[in-house]
């Protein structure tokens, strides 16, 4: 296996195309574990750490934030750059694995790996984020929900690299909550729920609910969001949202939980998370 540490994106893209099975190396917190376990046999790793433009969180004039793909979870967990709706990313990042993993694991690595049990993909879906990609044909941007295609599979074409995650400002009256159900702290989620709601004069004016661990990709459904909008948050509106989401859930059986357990517990966690978000001033 070869290792390259290019200093520019163009150099990295060219190197990716030189090999049959090259992989980008971001923080390595999943990729190196997979190499150690003999689950992956790339012919080259293209390390991105020297490409300085990929690191850091920048708040734009319109209130959107741009998060470089190589930004570690710790920086997201501790950032003061986020507005009311974007704060869901900090909450999700604070629950990822453990401090040493958060020191080195990156947002770009997390989404490019596309594990539906990971925290940031679900939070990004609730935050209406878009993913900026750079490759042989130049740059393109895709909504985060279209970025995930299936389990561990994204829209990235050969030679393409995730460069930045853009998170819009969202409603100023937003309140958010992220709930991760796991047996022990630091594990990947059995399932997770991310909620961003805007409440004005007691009425829910906007809502975005996303589920992780309930299918091969994060689940977000306009019908479920709409079920909450136009009235105060209530048991009835929450039940309608849960029912809509349940119809879209395609969970797996795995060693963390059965699909049946996930389906049964989902409405309770959705309810808890919506109430938690709505209760926050």
């Amino acid at each position: 296996m070869k290792l390259h540490l290019p200093e520019s994106l163009d150099e990295a893209v060219a190197l990716l195309q030189t090999y049959e099975e090259a992989r980008c190396l971001a923080g390595g917190q999943t990729l190196v574990a997979m190499l150690n376990a003999n689950l992956l046999f790339p012919d080259a790793l293209i390390g991105l750490k020297r490409i300085k433009s990929l690191d850091g969180i920048e708040r734009k004039a319109d209130g959107a934030v741009a998060i470089g793909a190589m930004t570690p979870h710790r920086a997201i967990a501790e950032s003061s750059q986020f507005g009311a709706a974007q704060a869901i990313l900090g909450e999700a990042a604070r629950g990822i694995a453990h401090p040493p993993i958060r020191n080195f694991g990156t947002i770009g690595g997390s989404i490019a790996h596309a594990d539906p049990a990971a925290d940031l993909p679900t939070a990004l879906a609730a935050a209406a984020a878009t993913v900026e990609i750079y490759g042989p044909k130049g740059a393109r941007t895709v909504p985060v929900e279209d970025f995930f295609v299936s389990y561990l599979t994204t829209v990235l074409e050969p030679g393409e690299i995730v460069t930045c995650i853009h998170v819009p400002r969202g409603p100023d009256a937003a309140r958010c909550a992220y709930y991760k159900l796991s047996r022990i702290a630091g594990d990947l989620a059995i399932l997770s729920v991310a909620v961003v709601v805007a409440i004005q004069d007691g009425i829910c004016t906007e809502a975005r609910i996303a589920l992780g661990g309930c299918g091969p990709t994060p689940i977000r459904l306009t019908a479920a969001d709409r079920a909450l909008v136009g009235e105060p948050i209530s048991d009835r509106s929450i039940a309608r949202a849960s029912e809509a989401l349940a119809a879209e859930c395609r969970p797996f059986d795995d060693f963390r939980a059965t699909a049946r357990y996930r389906l049964r517990v989902m409405p309770r966690i959705v309810r808890r998370t919506i109430l938690s978000a709505a209760g926050r001033a």
Partner: protein, 161 residues
Amino acid sequence: MTQPERLPVALMVNGETQEVLIEAEATLLSVLREHLQLTGSKRGCNQGVCGACTVLIDGRAGRSCLALAATLAEAEITTIEGIRDDPVGARVIAALVEGAAVQCGFCTPGMVIALTELLRAKDRPDLAEIRDALSGNLCRCTGYQKIVAAALTLASNGHGE
């Protein structure tokens, strides 16, 4: 069979530059243990889960089993062997000894590194912060109580310089 290609890499470990000839896939942990004979960092899971291999990389606690050594030419690495020369690290070690917070000792190097990172950043962490800092370090003797108690004593005494 062709020999796997080896790369010359200069690593800064515990304040000294070490020249090693390693394969691209060599983890920092394997280089520390097998090339540099620094066997204080332990190989538990080799998956980043157990925390026994934790070292400081540019001052941040990180898994040496998940860091490829050949990517660390510009980094400063501190292992359990070097942490005693750090004033905070030395106090952490003394507190664990004083509190008899060691059973088999396999997890101890990682625990020391995790606590050193915490106490360098924060003079008087509370119980929740100590538990969070140690949340990625498993002790299979289940001897957590004395480790947390030792850290708490250090924190409440104000370990600061």
